[in-house]
């Protein structure tokens, strides 16, 4: 049921000037144009209320666009909604399954909604519930599951139609680190197997590690859309946190380095990526300050994200500060 006209180069997702204005007048999307290549692991980031969920809602047929076009593997959502839905698996932000049904029933029923015969649906449900370590809970009412299990159940459910495009809207919110890592392993494996993945998350270090391309949306507009490597390459300033022995009394002047005293035993050093660290350590050493450990203050993507969102589209390309 894929689009026979679609070639290997057909984008997994293409939106053209997509706009959405809600009945209360809120403009959630202001002309979003986006392309996601097939097989990509794509991050869609933005602050709360930026328009991410509206965009995902339009793609998954839960929100009607005001104007514009969206195509999934070349199929227009206006012309063939059913055809688009067959390509997509959705893991929404909010829990949206019947809490009185069991995980097994939920998965098999959703497969049925996609027209997948029950025999195949049962086999798939067993496989994905097993892979997401939920099989031992498969026959318990879903309301008995923990928060992390419910999140994994929604991933298993989204896999029931074995989608070509998997959309994950903050799938790890509120999930502990161990389960989050196992979820990412699963999603990464799905992506390596050929499924295109679009991810929204507030854990930016995860987006940085997992995603190859990225779009940042703010106030309903795309403010950045590039590869993760290119985006990170724009950042030429880093901030280091230095733990020091003894008290932070008088800081040295180091050209090209902005030194700040955070507390009695902690310094922050903001400097260009090209700047060598030796001069900093030499200056600190000359003042009798001993550095006991050092780390990056924040992850790089988070720093870029904050700058892009703070400055909006007018500061595109100036994130190097």
């Amino acid at each position: 049921m894929s689009n026979p006209a679609a070639s290997r180069d057909t984008p997994a997702l293409e939106t053209i000037d997509l706009r959405k204005t809600y009945s209360n007048g809120v403009q959630a999307l202001r002309g979003v144009s986006l392309r996601v290549a097939p097989g990509d692991f794509f991050a869609l980031l933005g602050p709360n209320g930026a328009g991410k969920s509206t965009l995902i809602g339009i793609l998954s047929s839960l929100v009607n666009p005001t104007s514009g076009e969206a195509r999934v593997f070349g199929i227009s959502i206006h012309a063939d909604r059913g055809g688009v839905m067959r390509q997509i698996g959705l893991v929404p932000q909010e829990l949206n399954f019947n809490q009185f049904e069991t995980p097994f029933e939920i998965c098999v029923n959703v497969a049925g909604f996609y027209g997948i015969p029950r025999r195949i649906a049962c086999a798939r449900a067993e496989r994905y519930l097993n892979e997401l370590r939920l099989w031992d809970k498969a026959r318990q009412p879903a309301r008995m599951l923990s928060g992390g299990m419910k999140r994994r159940l929604m991933i298993a459910r989204a896999m029931m139609n074995e989608p070509r495009l998997l959309i994950l809207d903050e799938p790890t919110a509120g999930v502990d680190i161990e389960i989050r890592r196992s979820m990412w392993q699963f999603i990464s494996a799905i992506n390596r197997a050929g499924t295109t993945v679009i991810l929204t998350t507030h854990y930016l270090e995860e987006a940085e590690q997992l995603c190859r391309n990225i779009a940042i949306i703010d106030h309903g507009s795309i403010v950045e859309n590039t590869s993760m490597r290119a985006l990170l390459g724009k950042l030429d300033v880093e901030t280091f946190v230095l733990d020091i022995a003894g008290a932070c009394v008088q800081l040295p002047e180091v050209p090209g380095v902005k030194l700040t005293c955070v507390d009695d035993h902690t310094l922050e050093a903001e400097m260009s990526k090209q700047h060598d660290l030796n001069s900093l350590f030499a200056a600190l050493s000359a003042r009798g300050i001993t550095v006991t450990s050092m780390r990056n203050k924040t992850n790089r993507l988070e720093e870029l994200f904050v700058r892009l969102v703070e400055h909006g589209g007018s500061e595109k390309g100036k994130v190097a500060a």
């Binding site: 839960l62 399954f97 019947n98 049925g112 997948i116 029950r118 074995e162 799905i190 390596r192």
Partner: protein, 274 residues
């Protein structure tokens, strides 16, 4: 993960099932889910109408009915059985679809349906089928209970069955529309309380409309439930207050109109999509 990769690659390009077959599977899935829901909460769906109707039979049929003479050649108990069966069918079909569909909106799992490739008519047909099956099951239970109180011989089985199916379908569709517009649980209780119950009681369940003087006789003819009750009574007892062809015309007209409205609303996503 290798077998997973292979399977995804195969599914990505291949057309596994025809659209028609996919729709048939989807329709079966919704109907099955609705029936399982009804059976899972049988103490709420099957027992209350059985108890209520038993009380009707005891009080109206046995105790009061003895003091009422023959109605169209039948005892009062026999006369009210078709109306009470139809009343159960109507109220349970309506109640089933409103609570189930509004529940899916309230719990947000209606999104499973909206984000699937199913066309609107499959969603509607699946929910209506589930509600009709509950109506038929409850109707059968009530009819079975009535046999403890009186004897019945179904005069026109085809008329009886088609009338129950049409009546149940009409009120399932009406309940679906109600659930689409409903924003809170109160909204699905208002129509049964203020519209459905009065219309049912004034629809000739307990009396013949020919007993009414004017203008109430003419006013009663506007009530669609009157035609359902009388058509079913004709199917069971062979007597009715209205011509059968008019009853079928009214029922088919209502079914077609409500189906068109429900499909249009569903297609537009009224109360469902932003």
């Amino acid at each position: 993960m290798n077998d997973l990769r292979t399977e995804i690659a195969i599914n990505a390009g291949a057309s596994e099932f025809s659209v028609a077959r996919a729709n048939a599977v989807a329709l079966y899935t919704i109907t099955r889910r609705e029936v399982r829901r009804m059976l899972r909460i049988w103490t709420q769906t099957l027992i209350p109408p059985a108890i209520t109707m038993t009380l009707y039979f005891v009080i109206f049929g046995t105790l009061i009915g003895r003091r009422i003479g023959m109605m169209h050649g039948f005892t009062y108990m026999q006369y009210i059985v078709p109306g009470l069966v139809m009343m159960s069918v109507i109220t349970n079909s309506y109640g089933n679809i409103t609570s189930s569909f509004f529940g899916s909106k309230f719990g947000r799992y209606v999104e499973e349906l909206l984000a699937s490739p199913m066309p609107s008519w499959v969603v509607l047909t699946g929910y209506v089928a589930g509600a009709v099956l509950r109506g038929l099951l409850v109707g059968g239970i009530v009819l079975g209970i009535s046999l403890f109180f009186t004897s019945l011989r179904v005069a026109h089985p085809l008329v009886a069955i088609s009338t129950v199916l049409l009546g149940s379908t009409i009120f399932s569709l009406a309940g679906f529309i109600n659930a689409m517009f409903a924003r809170k649980f109160d909204d699905i209780a208002i129509v049964p309380t203020f519209v459905l119950t009065p219309l049912t009681y004034l629809g000739g369940v307990f009396y013949s409309v020919n007993m009414l003087g004017e203008p109430w006789h003419t006013v009663s003819l506007v009530n669609p439930i009157l035609y359902m009750v009388n058509a079913f009574r004709f199917g069971v007892l062979g007597v009715a207050d209205v011509p059968l062809w008019i009853a079928y015309l009214v029922m088919c007209g209502f079914a077609a109109l409500l189906a068109a409205i429900a499909l249009t609303l569903l297609h537009r996503g009224v109360g469902l999509r932003s």
